[in-house]
Amino acid sequence: MAGFDKRVASYEEALAGLEDGMTVISGGFGLCGIPENLINEIKRKGTRDLTVVSNNCGVDGFGLGILLQDRQISKVVASYVGENALFEKQLLSGEIEVVLTPQGTLAEKMRAGGAGIPAFFTATGVGTPVADGKETREFKGRTYLMEESITGDFAIVKGWKADHFGNVIYRHTAQNFNPLAATAGKITVVEVEEIVEPGELDPAQIHTPGIYVDRIICGTFEKRIEQLTERP
């Protein structure tokens, strides 16, 4: 790697340094905009005892779901685990620890983590099980919960296009949690559909500035659709 050239040549290199017991923050919403190949590489590496922070945990046999099969994940921080029978089974049996977190709070935890803000207050979850054991405070007559931010040893991100500087743009709603995850990893790895020539991306249209990105790799994607719905 020279200067600002963050491209790596292989998925093995992309996830070099990922070890047992680490925390991995993943972009994606459902199966949309998930770093499929980086997840496959974690499976191939066989890294275990991972804490995974992601809105969902894939489905049976695809996305993060494949890491549940080999029990590589010991803890998940997520907002929604439906549509994944194995996950629900491991959760109910206590094999896996799950911290169910409201979606907006999860997004903000990543954003704050990447922005150097250790905690924030939100009205979300006040008076619900989410508030258990958390500090509350009143502002302007309303009660708010203190939520701590999240950072990860690794962030795995799916972008659309990037340049070798690590500037990334996302495609449509595949953006979702990806730019937030990208800010919150000690090592942030972004896989994209296309690496473009320097200068090709409009600087004013960059979603994730290269400063957040450590490694870039170009991959091919299955992009599985969870709920195909079409106009009658």
């Binding site: 629900e88 619900t128 709603t173």
Partner: protein, 219 residues
């Protein structure tokens, strides 16, 4: 007769106003989009990060990168914007959404709502529901008035883990439209052909029945 799902969606759609930004939950709320009154412009927000959700794509035009919060393939309408989930929930939490419609398992006279978990039975997660009910001023809950076993879902106090506390003011069931005020449900409208007595018998929480309870009208 109890309202059909379509009629419930029609009734909720009457609460829309021109220029509203609206978040519709999964299930009956999604159907509301089909009944936005002619000549009215409304922007639908999908909490994964889309403002200005359009119709489902034509056959063969679905794009895996273009989905709504229910993970269905959708399109973006003219004037739409797409952004991160943090931006999306900033809109929600910041009170910028004009109307939120979502389903529930239970609602009580204190405006509490339970919609995300049945201990020991169903663990799917809250998704964005807790943020939506905490952030919105104007919320309509849609649900059946009673369970299949006839148990009331309008309670003195929710029995299931809450999604939000003291945040619900309006409920549309298949039998009635009710408001919540000062620790009671107020019966505002009844479904066509449904008697006040039936609604009273199926409402476990305190219910105030005004002298006149109009029937909902459907074309």
């Amino acid at each position: 007769m109890a309202l059909t799902r379509e009629q419930m969606a029609q009734r909720v759609a009457r609460e829309m106003q021109d220029g509203f930004y609206v978040n519709l939950g999964i299930g009956i709320p999604t159907l509301v989009a089909n009944y936005i009154p002619e000549g009215m412009e409304v922007m639908l927000q999908s909490e994964n990060g889309l403002l200005g959700m359009g119709p489902f794509p034509h056959v063969g035009e679905a794009d895996a990168d273009m989905i709504n919060a229910g993970k269905q393939t959708v399109t973006a309408r003219t004037g739409a914007s797409i952004f991160s989930s943090a931006e999306s929930f900033a809109m929600i939490r910041g009170g910028h959404i004009d109307l939120t419609v979502l389903g529930a398992f239970e609602v009580d006279v204190h405006g509490n709502i339970a919609s995300w978990m049945i201990p020991g039975k169903l663990v799917k997660g809250m998704g964005g529901a807790m943020d939506l009910v905490a952030g919105a001023e104007n919320i309509i809950v849609t649900m059946t008035h009673a369970s299949k076993d006839g148990e009331s879902k309008l309670l003195a106090r929710c029995s299931l883990p809450l999604t939000g506390a003291g945040c619900i003011k309006r409920v549309l069931t298949d039998l009635a439209y009710l408001e919540i005020q000062d620790g009671a449900f107020i019966l505002k409208e009844r479904a066509p052909g449904v008697s006040v007595e039936e609604i009273v018998s199926k409402t476990a929480g305190k219910l105030i029945v005004p002298d006149h309870v109009p029937e909902m009208q459907f074309a």
